[in-house]
């Protein structure tokens, strides 16, 4: 999962330093997953300035024609493809900023100095990028103090990140992440318990 893709999954619609929304076509929805790490890339195509974030919401708007089609008894494959490929009904995804690539080439786990611009392309991060970003856990605090469903989001992200590691390293990775979570949520046992249950390895 989350292998590098050359094509952007969408483009930035709205942005602030805390996060951004991006629009994608409906047929690209298969490439999206809650908790995945994405990168908004400035259009000068240099690595510096890229903003990293976690996808925490996928939203599909309707319109009167879609409502009509939903209510109709029969909908043929051609009509569904027409809606997916041609009509301007974008999938909107919301992303929480967790870091950026600084001018020294290093990834910083902090809010970016400036938000990405409208129409900047958004890419799914490659396995290498995921390993690089999640090699440290400094972004946990940003996630856990945000207004998004933070335990669910962080757990989904950690499971995706673990999936990019060799099988014999995955358990250790989740244990280390769990210890960091315990440190941050030591005063909130309910949230800590919830998050640890979500990332608890099914096998070892």
């Amino acid at each position: 999962m989350a292998n590098a893709v050359d094509e952007p999954i969408g483009r930035v619609l709205r942005a602030s330093t805390q996060g951004f929304s991006a629009g994608a076509r409906v047929h690209q929805i298969d490439t999206l997953a809650f908790g995945m790490l994405v990168r908004a890339q400035p259009r000068n195509e240099e690595a510096q300035g890229a903003v990293y974030g976690l996808l925490y919401d996928i939203h599909i708007d309707d319109d009167p024609l879609v409502r009509e089609l939903v209510l109709a008894d029969t909908t043929s494959e051609e009509m569904i493809r027409d809606q997916h490929y041609h009509r301007l009904v974008p999938v909107e995804m919301s992303i929480l900023s967790i870091g950026f690539r600084a001018y020294d080439g290093q990834i910083r786990h902090a809010l970016p100095p400036r938000p990405p611009l409208s129409l900047d392309p958004v890419y799914v991060c490659s396995s290498e990028e995921i390993r690089e970003v999640t090699s440290r856990f400094d972004y946990f605090r940003l996630v856990l103090t945000s207004q998004v469903p933070s335990e669910q989001l962080l757990a989904a992200n950690l499971l995706i990140a673990a999936g990019t590691l060799p099988e014999n390293e995955q358990y250790d990775f989740l244990v280390r992440a769990g210890r960091e979570v315990a440190r941050l949520l030591g005063g909130d046992m309910a949230r800590l318990d919830n998050l640890l249950r979500l990332i608890y390895p099914s096998t070892q």
């Binding site: 024609l65 009509e68 089609l69 209510l71 109709a72 043929s76 051609e78 493809r81 027409d82 041609h86």
Partner: protein, 404 residues
């Protein structure tokens, strides 16, 4: 500004009037159904034709229907839905020229959709805008700005040629090949249209191209107000010596009744009426200036789903389609299937062709800005008239005045 309290009484009177009309329509409907029943079967066809011929010979201004070879009361089911077919539909919209807009221009935008029915492929969509700004298009000689009716006629020609072009490109794709317009096929142009002869020639030439590749052509009319069959029933109700221009100027005791009201209780979902032709000067012109194949016939089709209240559309088809009853039945099935995709029971393909064609208000404003910027870049100054500028101020949304 509308003062609603001043309308209360008028709205009440209106509803009383409409309730009275409904009762009167029920009586008329009963009479129409009795007449239809008297002339419903095949044996009545010679009598009906004779009566129509009489009205024509007496030059009584008859504008009603005339049956072809199917009994007046007959109803016909669709063919099984073809597994594969190609449907092409075109629609157009326009921005009319405005006297108070500088520079003046008008725009025609044509939307086309091609559905490869049964293929599972995404349909093809096209949208083609045409901007008119030259003097010869914008002004009629000595008559000022081109009237909207002229632009409508030009738009219809653009729709027809786009429909033909895209259908022609699909000539090797799955059959039946069906071209659909969201208009009556009987194309009428007022005397205002200066180039009406050329436009008519283009229209007939487009029809010929469709005929040449064996495509089905249909015009779809939603919720038609037509009274062609009601007028025929009125003609049949008259004594022979009463067939006069005065008597045929209205539908007599059936006046106010529409064809779809007569057939809404008779047609099952997906079924159609008999094929008929409308006796009008326009149709005569189509036959004489085009050919016998260009004469336009029609039928009513119940596009409602099973269990729903009847919803009738009028489908117009040229005579070359009428002569291929397999194609008629397949087109009937395909159009009905298209209507089942939406609960409004209107063909999906026409809904989308309209959506592709329509120019929204903000798009029109954006085009205005684009033109103004281009003018400024060429050293010109674009100004709207004082009247238009004042209207904009008065109609503008109120905004809150805030400090800080």
């Amino acid at each position: 500004m509308l003062e609603f309290h001043k309308l209360t009484g008028q709205v009440e009177s209106m509803s009383e009037y409409l309730a009275g009309q409904e009762q009167s329509l029920e009586d008329k409907l009963e009479l129409a159904l009795t007449l239809l029943n008297d002339y419903a079967d095949e044996k009545a066809l010679p009598r009906i034709r004779e009566r129509v011929q009489e009205a024509i010979e007496r030059d009584a201004g008859y504008r009603g229907a005339s049956p072809l070879d199917e009994p007046l009361g007959g109803t016909y089911g669709p063919a099984p839905l073809p597994e594969r077919a190609t449907l092409v539909a075109t629609d157009g919209s326009q921005i009319y020229p405005r006297r108070h807009r500088e520079p003046s221009y008008y725009l025609i935008n044509i939307g086309t959709m091609v559905i490869h029915h049964g293929s599972g492929e995404a349909p093809e969509v096209f949208s083609e805008p045409y901007l008119f700004y030259e003097q010869e298009y914008l002004y009629l000689q000595d008559e000022g700005l081109t009237p909207n009716a002229v632009i409508d006629a030009r738009r219809t020609i653009y729709e027809m040629t786009a429909l033909t072009e895209h259908t022609w490109l699909c000539r090797d794709r799955a059959r039946p090949l069906v071209a659909l317009l969201d208009n009556p096929l009987l194309f009428f142009m007022s005397i205002e249209v200066p180039e009406r002869r050329q436009l008519r020639d283009i229209y007939f030439s487009s029809m010929n191209n469709l005929l040449e590749i064996g495509a089905g052509l249909a015009g779809y009319i939603d919720k038609p107000d037509s009274t062609f069959i009601v007028r025929l029933l009125h003609l049949l109700s008259l004594p022979e010596d009463a067939i006069t221009r005065g008597a045929l100027a209205t539908s007599g005791s059936l006046e106010g009744l529409r064809d779809i009201q007569v057939f809404s209780t008779l047609l099952k979902p997906g079924w159609r009426t008999a094929l008929l032709v409308q006796m009008s000067p326009q149709n005569k012109q189509f036959r004489q200036q085009g050919s016998e194949m260009h004469e336009i016939a029609f039928f009513y089709l119940n596009v409602a789903a099973q269990g729903e209240r009847a919803r009738l559309a009028r489908i117009e088809i040229p005579m070359w389609v009428v002569r291929d009853r397999t194609l008629v039945a397949e087109m009937q099935a395909l159009i009905y299937h298209q209507c089942q995709q939406l609960t409004k029971r209107y063909p999906y393909i026409l809904t989308r062709a309209d959506e592709l064609a329509v120019v929204k208000g903000d798009e029109a404003r954006q085009l205005d800005r684009m033109i103004r910027v281009a003018m400024v870049q060429h050293g010109m100054h674009a100004e709207e008239s004082e009247k238009q500028a004042t209207k904009k101020i008065a109609r503008g949304r109120k905004t809150r005045f805030e400090v800080g």
